[in-house]
């Protein structure tokens, strides 16, 4: 009989291995799924995992997709460590894109150095504004930020849709729901010639370092971790919990808003009704896959970026539906949560526990 036995203390090794186990099982389950769908397994594996990263351009695209995931996931993991469950990074990302994009359109064809910094600032403030709403509701009325931040995502998506159908629509665009294409001064610098890899990748790495230092070396980071681990101990030590909630949400809003602006000012280059393939939601998986650690998030971000690329590649070469990306991401989170049990429990094989009967008589 298989049973789970509690460990005396959590296993560090398993904390490290659980994501790898989850990845492996996801891979096997994915290949099984392909086999059931009648797709040649070898071909599917190649299309999904190898082909997307077999060229320099492919690798640069991996960076393009990973950058927003890492930026948002790093910020989310800070909040998650502090027991602040911001599920609405997607909405904050959209608001960042909307606000920064609006600045770009306002300064349309103004060829000045300050346009891009202004857009970035607007994007960051937009994201923070959107995150400030759940923060206010949580600290003033004790409203659960999971619900409020999630619901605000849909409001943000509709706001973007309204604007690209109305005020921000391209006047010469034949009524298509799109803004003008941003001009050169409002577009992110490319860091690798001939690709779409933009400066946002560097910003993401910088953010990783900042978050790492913040969490491990500053009083604020310490307070955030204590609050997540034992809120009453935080009160006893004198950490103001409301301020920690505000910080967590605003920091994440800023990062997501910035990531949103980088999307519209980078790979997209204009405002569209949809500016993100769910980066804000996928970043939640990235944060957990990366063990809520800034460095872990970098690797997890690359893995999840590959799931986007692999999904696209599988659509093109194998005619698989777009849903395959979501299936992979979902399976990964599912198996990760299951594998996490191994951190606190070990699997043992044993016979049925013999009660008193064995020893007596």
């Amino acid at each position: 009989m298989i049973s789970l036995q509690a460990r005396a203390e959590p296993s560090k090794l398993m904390g490290f291995c659980a994501p790898l186990i989850a990845l492996l099982v996801t891979l096997l389950a994915g290949l099984l799924l392909f086999a059931i769908l009648g797709v040649p397994v070898g071909q599917a594996f190649y299309a999904f995992f190898i082909e997307p990263v077999s060229s320099l351009y492919g690798l640069s695209e991996l960076g393009v997709k990973a950058a927003p995931l890492i930026m948002i996931a790093v910020a989310l993991s800070i909040g998650f460590r502090a027991n602040v469950w911001n599920i609405g990074a997607e909405g904050q990302l959209i608001l960042g894109g909307v606000c920064g994009g609006a600045v770009a359109l306002y300064f349309y064809e103004v060829d000045a150095w300050y346009v891009l910094p202004l857009m970035t600032l607007a994007g960051i403030l937009g994201g923070m504004l959107w995150a400030a709403i759940p923060a206010l509701l949580r600290t003033q009325f004790n409203a659960n930020e999971i619900l409020t931040s999630l619901m605000l995502t849909y409001v943000a998506a509709l706001l973007l849709s309204m604007l690209v159908h109305g005020q921000l629509r391209d006047p010469d665009g034949f009524n298509f729901p799109e803004s003008r294409l941003f001009h050169a001064a409002a577009t992110l610098p490319i860091i690798m010639e001939g690709t779409r890899l933009h400066i946002g990748a560097l910003v993401a790495l910088l953010l990783v370092v900042v978050a790492w230092v913040l969490l491990s070396r500053t009083l604020l980071g310490f307070a955030l971790r204590v609050n997540g681990n034992a809120p009453r101990a935080g009160l006893y030590a004198g950490f103001a919990q409301k301020r920690l909630v505000w910080f967590s949400l605003l920091f994440c809003g800023a990062a997501a808003g910035c990531a949103g602006l980088f999307e519209v000012a980078g790979p997209i280059g204009q405002l569209l009704p949809t500016i993100s393939p769910g980066y804000g939601f996928t970043a939640i998986i990235v944060a957990f896959l990366g063990r809520l650690h800034p460095v872990g998030v970098v690797f997890a971000g690359l893995v999840m970026a590959l799931s986007y690329l692999g999904g696209e590649s599988a659509q093109i070469s194998l005619n698989l539906p777009v849903a395959v990306t979501g299936v992979f991401q979902g399976m990964l989170l599912f198996f990760l949560l299951a594998a996490d049990v191994l951190i606190n429990y070990r699997v043992v094989w044993r016979k049925r526990p013999q009660a008193n009967s064995g020893a007596s008589l």
Binding site: V213, R217, L219, N229, A230, Y236, A237, N356, A359
Partner: protein
Amino acid sequence: MTTQTNSHETALVEMQGITKSYPGTLANDAIDLTIYSGQIHALLGENGAGKSTLVKILYGLLQVDAGSIAWQGQPVSIDSPAQARALGIALVFQHFSLFDSLTVIENIALGMAVDANKELHQKIIDVSSRYGLLLDPDRDVYSLSVGQRQRIEIVRCLLQSPKLLIMDEPTSVLTPQEVGELFVTLRRLADEGMAILYISHKLNEIKTLCSEATILRDGKRVATADPARQSVNSLAALMMGNEVASVTRAKRTPSSDIKLQLSGVSLNAKEQHGVPLKKLKLSVSAGEIVGIAGVAGNGQDELMQVISGEAKLPNAKMLTINNQAVGKLSPGERRALGLCCVPEERLGHASVPGMTLSENAFLTAHHRISLRTAGFISNGKSARFTNQVIEQFNVHCNGPQSLAASLSGGNLQKFIVGREIEQQPSVFVVSQPTWGVDAGAAALIHQSIQAMAQLGAAVLVISQDLDELMLITDRIAALCAGRLSQVYPTRDVSLQQLGTLMGGASIEAGAVA
């Protein structure tokens, strides 16, 4: 009192060679325990000796690794509490499982899975009057004292007419008067033929109440003795082995320099069943230890929060530290002024279970001790301070990187108390300093507290343990329903008088000279 020696009779329950291990520890190591009907049998041992594990096995909450249980001579296997109850075993837990917002009868009905009808109403009144356990079935539980709540649990057990009643540390939450009443009830039950397994580490109680005692130490049965023929010292020696610790009362000369003053501290209850504080007046001088007695739930938590700064006062002047009004300051600001506090709950309040000792040291010490370099947390400095605490307070652990949750209760308490004392506060406030810790740790903590008072700190000890308060305090008061009694010199107050104070009456009105 029934002191029968029923060796010729069949034992009611006979546990043999009970062995149970958890990851990392052997909680019960081949323990034998035999109980006869009509006997009050003590299970004596320190915290961590294996008493709870043994009881959980007897009540079907845990399964043994090895060993056997015989019930009235028949071998049985007790797989669940339901089966234990069916045999006739009832257990009164140390921590009650009652719903505050329901009435007494509703709680009893829920526990027995029956309807709260007239018949049950009558039964409760019958049982409670028969055994002197006065109880109104229609009262809401939240309005009852802890002693009354315990009666609910006992009545609930008695309604099932058990053959064996297990009581787990029943007096830890009672005033001396309530303890006396409980003993009368227990003796009557034993006279009627019920067996009682009485779990405790209080030697005096066991000497007065029990006819036989099984003594556990480190998971092993070290002796079975007749408590009446043993002295408290010999019982203690059996229970604690070589580490019999004794703390002597140190001589102190309190000054008139008031360090901590509460002048009319009032605070409304924050939670529904919280206790409002009503005009508390108290002052603690340098070099003095003042004790606050009282049964838990009479405002101790609220008082601690008000002093530590977790709860702010409506008026800053209600609380002064070194003559400075601090009622509206944050905990950190109060620490900087010289106030260090240790709340009752070790894990999750005084320490973060999932963090290392080093991080837990930083948690409160960074206000008074330089543990940062250029604004950034210095792991080296934290580790050095942590090592200092570990050495000074003899904390058994694997160094500053051990998780707080991995320490035993006594060691963690030594670490927490040590962490605060090593910050050299001028005012030290501690709640339940030795709750659930072994005797060695308790002695060390008592000595340290006295030592810091000798060095001129003002110390306030909030505790349910009256022996502890009698031992180390200079002056003493009691907290009852959010009101503080007058403060008396400890040497002028008897245990009985203290019990009167804990019940909310004044000594004068209680007519005790």
